[in-house]
């Protein structure tokens, strides 16, 4: 039996519970929509402009840096698991691996790209 089936069950049940709760709410709660109620909430004033505002490029950069380190971690997890049985060379390889990426982080930092401004 594939162990992932359990995981799938957890996910299914994990989805069923909120769905059930929301459905319960949908059944039990009143429904009296009107345009004012359904307008978007903007601190109580009239909605101004479009909801889609232009975003800072920093969002992209953070996500990008995160992506890179995420992939890095993917490589490092097998390394870490096996580290106890491997020699020093493996540690050094890992350190080189990390250091190379830290260079990227430093680059981004030194270029001021990690600042929120």
């Amino acid at each position: 039996m594939n162990e992932w089936l359990y995981v799938a069950l957890f996910m299914i049940v994990g989805a069923i519970i909120p769905i059930g709760a929301i459905l319960a709410g949908a059944i039990l709660s009143p429904k009296k929509p009107n345009p004012i109620k359904q307008s978007t909430y903007e601190c109580g004033i009239e909605p101004v402009g479009d909801a889609w505002v232009q975003f800072k490029v920093q969002y992209y950069i953070f996500a990008l840096v995160f992506l890179v380190f995420d992939v890095e971690a993917v490589f490092l997890f097998p390394w870490a698991v096996k580290l106890g049985q491997l020699g020093l060379y493996a540690v050094v390889e890992g350190i080189i691996f990390i250091s190379i990426l830290v260079v990227g982080l430093l680059y981004a930092w030194r270029k001021g790209m990690l600042e929120w401004s």
Partner: protein, 169 residues
């Protein structure tokens, strides 16, 4: 038809449908979310293939990071995100033809290959794929070079992308 096959077919079907939605839906944001669904399906395929690590990594990397990157990029490049004008270019028929040809060609190739129906070998009970991966990735006689090169690749991508995307006023 074993339960396994049924599950596979369901997952594969859902994945392919999601994939089709990715390439056909007009709303680019929806396309991104459909992509997530498709990638999740692929993760499930990996799980069915007993490649648990790859499956989790698929979720972590694709859904946790790449998809978010896509969504951010979409947000950054649209003035109106509900833009639902035609998303296909003029050559789409030619593209479809080529795609169909590709699939046909591949299918034809599969047909002529006799090992297609081999059974998957049993996985030894003591086999730990992650640990094995760890030792292979660091062993000088195996894949240490790809391992290190991957970090250089990521470094290059990061520096390049950061440099390109970021222009100070």
């Amino acid at each position: 038809m074993t339960p396994e096959k049924i599950i596979f077919l369901i997952v594969a079907g859902a994945t392919l449908v999601s994939a089709l939605m990715v390439v056909t839906t007009r709303n680019i944001v929806h396309a991104a979310f459909w992509l997530i669904a498709a990638l999740f399906g692929v993760a499930a395929i990996f799980a069915i293939l007993n490649a648990g690590f790859i499956a989790v990594v698929q979720v972590v990397v694709y859904i946790g990071a790449i998809a978010i990157l896509f969504i951010f990029a979409v947000m950054l490049t649209r003035k109106d995100l509900r833009d639902t004008s035609a998303q296909q270019n003029r050559n789409w028929q030619a593209g479809a033809l080529i795609a169909a040809l590709t699939f046909g060609g591949l299918a034809a190739l599969f047909q002529s290959w006799e090992k297609l129906s081999v059974a998957a070998p049993a996985i030894p009970s003591s086999f730990d794929a992650v640990a094995e991966l760890g030792s292979q990735l660091t062993s000088p006689s195996a894949y240490v070079l790809p391992f290190e090169v991957a970090s250089v690749l990521l470094l290059a991508a990061m520096i390049g992308a950061v440099y390109i995307a970021f222009t100070r006023k």
